[in-house]
Amino acid sequence: MIALRRSIQVAVPALVVLVCVSDLLSPSQQSVPLWLYALNYIVPGAAFAIAGLVAWSLRPANHMGLLMMAVGVGLLIGAAGILTPVSPLARTISEFLRLRVGHPSDYLFLALGPLWAVVILHLLLAFPSGRLGARLSRGLVAALYVFVPLISLIGLSVPFEVGLGSWLQIGYTTVRSVVYQTCFAVGFVLIMKRWVQGGRARRRSLSPVLWSLAPLSVAFLTPTLEGVLQQVIGVPDAGPLVDSTNAVALASPLFLIVLPIGFLVGLLRSGLDMTSVASLVVRLSNGLLPEQLQPALAKALHDPSLEVAYWVPALESFADLNGRRVELPGPDSERAASILDGAASPVAALVYDSSLRHEPQLVETAAAAVRMALENAGLQAQLKAQLEEVRQSRARLVEAGQRERQQVERDLHDGAQQQLVALLLALQATRAEAAQYGDKRTAAMLGANIAALKQALVELRELARGIHPSILTEAGLVAAIQSLGERCPIPVQLDAEYSDRLPSHLEATLYFVTAEAITNAVKHSGGGRIQISLRRRSGIVALDVCDDGKGGADLAAGTGLRGLSDRVAAVGGQLTVKSHHAGGTTIHSEIPCA
């Protein structure tokens, strides 16, 4: 395969050079008109051959290049045939070819000559994928491949000039012209249809081809032009290879000169660069909504008709986002599809204009990106669900912890504290009795015990308060923070914009954040005052605890702040620490609160 490719890559330019050189070598006074006529073939032939070679090198998977080279070679061989009488080199080539083909196959060689015209039609219809899509196109091209050599053979083998009757020749010529013109008209209609029906991507690539057809069309529509041209150039009888009575378009290959360029430009324009797919990947990585996926992909592949169909296991079919069933196109369709396979079943399918077929790599890359995005979306959905689950369980844990603390505090309050106070009263009564009976020693001992018990009560009270301050349940967050401030060794100013109650777990969270922030400010900031502000706005409670200390607090460094942040996050909020050296520390918490 590589050898074949290499030899084609060498042979085609060699032929071009050879024919051109032979052309240059040959001119003599007599041969000028013939030489000019041959140029008619050589220029477009060389153009087709070179453009085909370029196209083939750029798009090796696409047959367009090969077809274009075939046209070029056909034209060049035609030129060689024309120049045979005057160019030794052309003669050599001609003889070589005849030698290879052999005399009985002369007719075959001659019959195959005009096939380049059919190949041009083939090219037009197969553009830009190199494949003939519709059945009509394939039928037409196949018929012409058979019919054109056949007609040429008939024209060559029947000795019209000997005089089987001029009506036969006229009939033959008419039939041939009608057949050619009909075929090319149908071909033209098919191409125009593809233009009209094609998406932006197809039109983008088709338009240079259509423009480059313009000179040919002009020639086709004004046969007299050819006559004028022939008059000017003074074409002699060029023999059986050159059929000047043919459809003008076929007989004047010069008009094809811009066509190979049109094909090449069109082909390159249809070649979408990877940058559009790269930008698709970027857009996908930024997270696209499912409904944004199709337009993004259509844009990247320059095909507005592109559809994304999702596999619906229940339907055993593909469907669009609205749930409408999407049938995938067959192999002969104007549409093509790529299926994105998942682990067990397809994930989705891309349905696009068949003109994208010749860009398999691009479509595959885009499809892979989309599959990644779809899989990502799936994973993200899973992850979100898991995160939500974790968040909820964390919230439940914090709430449960909060309830437990409250319960412990209440148990202490109703249990140990009450009993100890009752015991205090009892001891007090006993001491009073002892004093009454003059038992000073017992009274003094009881007095000492009472003092110890009072101290124990104070400590127990502080312990219970640390577990859960009852003021928080009794009077709410603002009173509880005020109470914190009264106990703080540095001035605390509270600026509370509201005083209504919040859900108890939110109050507890904000209270403990405040308590910890105050403790930190007192212990570490070295500041002289603390400013606390509490605001409630549009579903959010915002708490700021600021000190005027030396700063340097870091959420990542200490476990205390980390714990606070976790606590706030557990109720769906966020805690941020702003700490500047010499600018103090602000601990800002925001908690959503309906």
């Binding site: 106070v421 009263l425 009073a432 009472i450 219970a464 308060r465 009852s470 001035p491 005052r529």
Partner: protein, 215 residues
């Protein structure tokens, strides 16, 4: 004096009743909940109610709500609230409603018999009694540009006793100073803190506590 006691802890209630009876008070009723207390008040004549802040069913602030309600309904009845914790917030709230016949003490104070009955008699005689812990905490509280810092120790002692709701006689006795000296101190305190000497001895407690609590 006829007293009603409301507390859900039977043990504490028993201790309190014994203390009260030992001092010659007549306990005319005992309640475990606010509702029982309302029922008792409807039937029993009493001049003082001693109740716990925490009572069933929620054990949060039933006592506070009951106190508010009772003081509205029975303005001549003294109300003394007891609690395991004392908070300036509650003190101010009680005094704001009316600084008359109201007391707010830590439960432990019941064991300091003299102090407790001093407070009880103040409440019963139309005055107020705020727990010294509330006052000392407010006095110890640091404030930016605090004028309290300008007071002498003696003046601070006077201020604290005023904030507890004590009368001038009681303060003079407590500090062993003459009434005249005390009045001089009080005048200095008012001028140093920029307070208006409003109301009588009973009413000044609210002004002083509000001042101490404000930032």
């Amino acid at each position: 004096m006829r007293v009603i006691v409301a507390d859900d802890s039977a043990l504490f209630r028993a201790g309190l009743v014994r203390v009260l009876q030992s001092e010659g008070f007549e306990v005319v009723g005992q309640a475990r909940t606010a509702d029982e207390l309302y029922a008792l008040l409807a039937t029993e004549q009493a001049s003082l109610v001693i109740l716990d802040i925490h009572m069933p069913p929620t054990q949060t602030n039933e006592g506070l709500i009951a106190a508010r309600q009772i003081r509205r309904q029975y303005p001549d009845l003294g109300v003394l609230l007891l609690s395991q914790y004392v908070e300036s917030h509650h003190a101010l709230e009680l005094l704001s409603q009316s600084p008359d016949r109201v007391g707010y003490l830590l439960k432990d104070r019941v064991a300091d018999v003299d102090e407790f009955f001093d407070a009880v008699s103040r409440v019963a005689s139309g005055g107020s009694a705020i727990d010294p812990l509330v006052v000392s905490r407010l006095l110890a509280r640091k404030r930016a540009g605090d004028l309290v810092d300008d007071l002498t120790d003696r003046e601070r002692s006077v201020l604290a006793l005023m904030a507890e709701g004590r009368s001038n006689d009681a303060i003079a006795t407590e500090l062993r100073i003459s009434r005249k000296t005390l009045e001089t101190h009080i005048g200095t305190i008012y001028s140093k803190l920029g307070l208006e000497p409003t109301g009588g001895e009973h009413r000044r407690v609210l002004a002083v506590l509000s001042y101490l609590r404000s930032s």
